[in-house]
Symmetry: C2
């Protein structure tokens, strides 16, 4: 039987975790990004398909490529964030299944079935985006996720000529309280849940 | 600056977490389900829209309602699991925005825009499903997520006459090693990620 994590860990992951709009001027080094992936990659996906593809936008040059795709409200904070992660998914993810799910012909469940491909890539790539946010918090990082941007422009700037499509963005760094909004309420258990 | 969680916590959340197919014969009590929601609810969603709706299927009667929707490979293990969570999303989620995101008229961003409603509900409901799995592991529970089932049958059995649609299922309980598959490989950093 596994124990409940200590209260400080639950605070860091959930109860005191916030969507940050501003970050300390401290680099998130490449080793930290690799450690982040080495945690999030273990999260469950359907048939272990692992469709998410991540671009860690760090350089000034890459930030300028991202710039035209950002909505006005997300522009300045994203250009200033140490990293902006583009969470995408590969619509050809099933070509990896002979390696990722080797005990059966899982590729044949998807190949040629565009509706299942789209749904599976979007659902499981999104799960992996959430795993990234929780793994980031577990490593002491803070996140600022956003879906207010032009997906087609991001795809053109970062994924042209590939089968990868953008899903959402996550600013990443060491959060500072400036720009934090007051915490919004959540639905009560009875409003969101039912025990049947 | 926040610290990295201790290695045991990282193991429990990610590195040693597995998709369980069998669980101890131990109830997951209602207080634990409420504690689970009280963690996962803090996870970020777009405009705090919190579209996920969760049905915790525990009773024998509710399990029988779920039964016809399950694929053959998921049938027995789900009937035996202490809880099967139906992760759904409410396509009328934006009616809650005056409460959940009160400082602006966020409802108007969605009302009447079916494509944005569908994408936002699916993306953010899926994020919340991932938050549930990580929160469950943080509480010492184990998960067995599945998308192999008939969504229309689940919607008919559990969400008829509502605006809620099923997304995926998560068996929940205290995992036992029986039925664990050998761990499948993951993509290397270079295969799934790029630093730009």
């Amino acid at each position: 039987m596994k124990a409940t994590l200590d209260p400080q860990a639950l605070d860091q992951l959930f109860r005191e975790a916030r969507t940050y709009n501003a970050f300390a001027e401290r680099e998130v080094d490449d080793a930290t990004l690799m450690a982040l992936y080495d945690l999030l990659k273990w999260g469950a996906t359907s048939a272990n398909a692992s469709p998410a593809r991540f671009v860690f936008v760090k350089s000034a040059e890459a930030k300028q490529k991202l710039r035209p795709a950002l909505s006005e409200g997300n522009l300045e904070k994203t250009l200033k964030a140490p990293v902006c992660v583009i969470v995408g998914h590969d619509l050809a993810f099933y070509e990896q299944l002979p390696k990722l799910f080797p005990h059966t012909d899982a590729r044949s469940w998807f190949a040629g079935n565009d509706a299942v491909i789209q749904t599976t890539a979007f659902r499981n790539g999104t799960l992996q985006g959430a795993y990234l946010m929780l793994a980031a918090r577990a490593l002491g990082l803070d996140c600022g996720p956003m879906s207010g941007f032009d997906n087609a422009k991001v795809d053109e700037a970062f994924f042209a000529g590939t089968t990868v499509k953008s899903n959402f963005l996550i600013n990443l760094g060491y959060g500072v309280p400036e720009g934090l909004f007051p915490r919004n309420p959540r639905l009560a258990f009875e409003e969101a849940c039912r025990i049947a």
